[in-house]
């Protein structure tokens, strides 16, 4: 795998305090050799600005049920960095999963396996 030097932005757009998920995912990505830039709880504008300034290859959003905020963040990142893939995790209700997938982002709801998430990051960043 050529993950060395590939950069992933991890942000939490949901306002809940459930940090465990994104933290576990970030560590798994780090262990796979990625450089993971954590920005914690962030507004869509912050996610967009960080995706530019940090020159990331992939954006990961933990949306914690707040689908509207996530959709706004996705829209802003898309406008600023159209070439950058986005994947989403956290508590994602079924109807929201369909909506997000229709926007072209990959969705990893609770129950997703870490190796699958890491494999997705490898594929999406072209590190395979």
């Amino acid at each position: 795998m050529k993950t060395a030097g590939k950069r992933i932005l991890m942000a939490k757009t949901g306002l809940d305090g459930h940090w465990r998920g994104p933290t576990v995912v970030a560590k798994a990505l780090r262990d796979a050799g990625f450089e993971v830039i954590m920005i914690g709880m962030a507004r869509p504008e912050e996610v967009m600005q960080a995706s530019i300034d940090e020159d990331v290859d992939l954006v990961g959003l933990n949306i914690g049920g707040h689908v509207d905020v996530a959709v706004r963040a996705i829209g802003m990142v898309r406008e600023a960095r159209p070439e950058v893939p986005i994947f989403v995790g956290g508590v994602v209700p079924p109807h929201a999963k369909r909506k997000l997938e229709s926007l072209g982002v990959e969705v990893y709801p609770p129950g997703s396996q870490l190796p699958d998430i890491v494999a997705a990051a490898v594929r999406l960043t072209g590190a395979a």
Binding site: T3, G33, I37
Partner: protein, 343 residues
């Protein structure tokens, strides 16, 4: 890519003209970055981080610039509160109508080469401000508290017109001092209860500070830490004695004092001429680092060939000793550095 002194002593960077198309593309990016395109700036920092030919192309475009940005380094132990302090400091700088660029370095794993760069988590106040550029960098194997590309990224930011640059190091111990040869004002962050006067007198980190910050000043032990620090600094002449600033970064307390101390230090070294000397030292360290980085690449290449294995086997048989094997490898390294392939 290797720097070689030409016949008349004029340095030439090997590799120039190797790929005119890429070179032209990178010069285009540099033009855009200089005009304020943050995306171009961010991509160029990535190019510098990847090193090699691309980085050399960008460096060539930077070399003609005069140095007129001011650089502040923030260093200290892991968890001392550097990032939170930087967040509070950014507030003061922006309120003072400054545009600030920050390079925040966190460690890469020596095992996976991956990294978790978490400095931005503490910096939400300014994360979307047009007056603030924040870039997280992984140390990528460097041991001095900075990344290989931090110095060249600093020069790139300077070339792109960022007047004030902050560099936050990896959480350091006692001897990771690259920040001292990279920045104009060095801020060392300590905490109450951090150590006694013996620690305060130890060589290394304590010697390079221009300003000491005792962060988390609301915690027990503040008075003792201040006393130990003052005791250790007492032997210095008054004008060379670092200021001590107390802060509670989580509340923003003391940030205004720290910003004032930084401005005062800047004024003092500008007026005394010390800044000019420091800049020469920085340039020297940067040039040396450049040569070292390229030598290291060559060394890695050498150890990937069977040349090193042959010597190892010979040592194992008792046919040669370590210094003799070292001489052979040094000779090989030299010819590798000079090989036509690398030009």
């Amino acid at each position: 890519m290797l720097l070689r002194c030409g016949l008349r002593g004029q340095p030439e960077i090997l590799g120039a003209g190797m790929n005119p198309e890429l070179e032209q593309q990178l010069q285009g990016e540099l033009e855009r970055a200089r005009k304020g395109d943050r995306g171009a700036l961010a991509r160029l920092i990535s190019v510098l981080e990847r090193g090699g030919y691309g980085a050399a192309c960008v460096e060539r475009g930077l070399s003609a610039r005069a140095a007129d940005s001011y650089t502040v380094g923030i260093t200290g132990a892991p968890g001392a509160g550097k990032s939170t302090l930087v967040n509070a400091l950014l507030g003061e700088m922006v309120a003072d109508a400054q545009r600030v660029a920050l390079l925040a370095v966190d460690p890469s794993s020596p095992l996976s080469r991956g990294a978790l760069l978490g400095d931005r988590v503490r910096m939400h106040s300014h994360a979307a401000s047009p007056a603030v550029f924040i870039r997280s960098m992984a140390s990528r194997g460097q041991l001095g508290g900075l990344a290989v590309a931090t110095r060249s990224a600093r020069r790139l930011l300077e070339a792109c017109g960022w007047p004030l640059i902050m560099i936050e190091t990896v959480g350091v111990g006692q001897v990771e001092l690259d920040v001292a040869s990279t920045t104009d004002t060095v801020v060392v962050v300590l905490n109450p209860g951090w150590g006694d006067e013996v620690q305060a007198n130890k060589a290394g980190l304590m010697e390079v500070a221009d300003i000491f910050v005792i962060n988390k000043a609301d915690k027990a032990g503040l008075e003792a830490t201040r006393r130990d620090l003052e005791g250790a600094l007492a032997s210095l002449p008054q004008q060379r004695r670092p200021a001590i600033v107390e802060t509670v970064a989580t509340e923003g307390r003391g940030a205004v004092d720290l910003w004032a101390a930084i401005c005062a230090h800047r004024q003092a070294i500008e007026e005394s001429g010390e800044l000019r000397e420091r800049r020469l030292g920085q340039l020297r360290a940067e040039l040396r680092g450049f040569v070292e980085a390229h030598l290291e690449v060559a060394l890695d290449e050498l150890f990937a060939t069977d040349c090193a294995d042959l010597q190892l086997a010979a040592i194992g048989r008792g046919a040669v000793d370590m210094p003799a094997a070292g001489d052979v490898l040094l000779a090989e390294l030299w010819s590798l550095v000079n090989s036509p392939k690398r030009r």
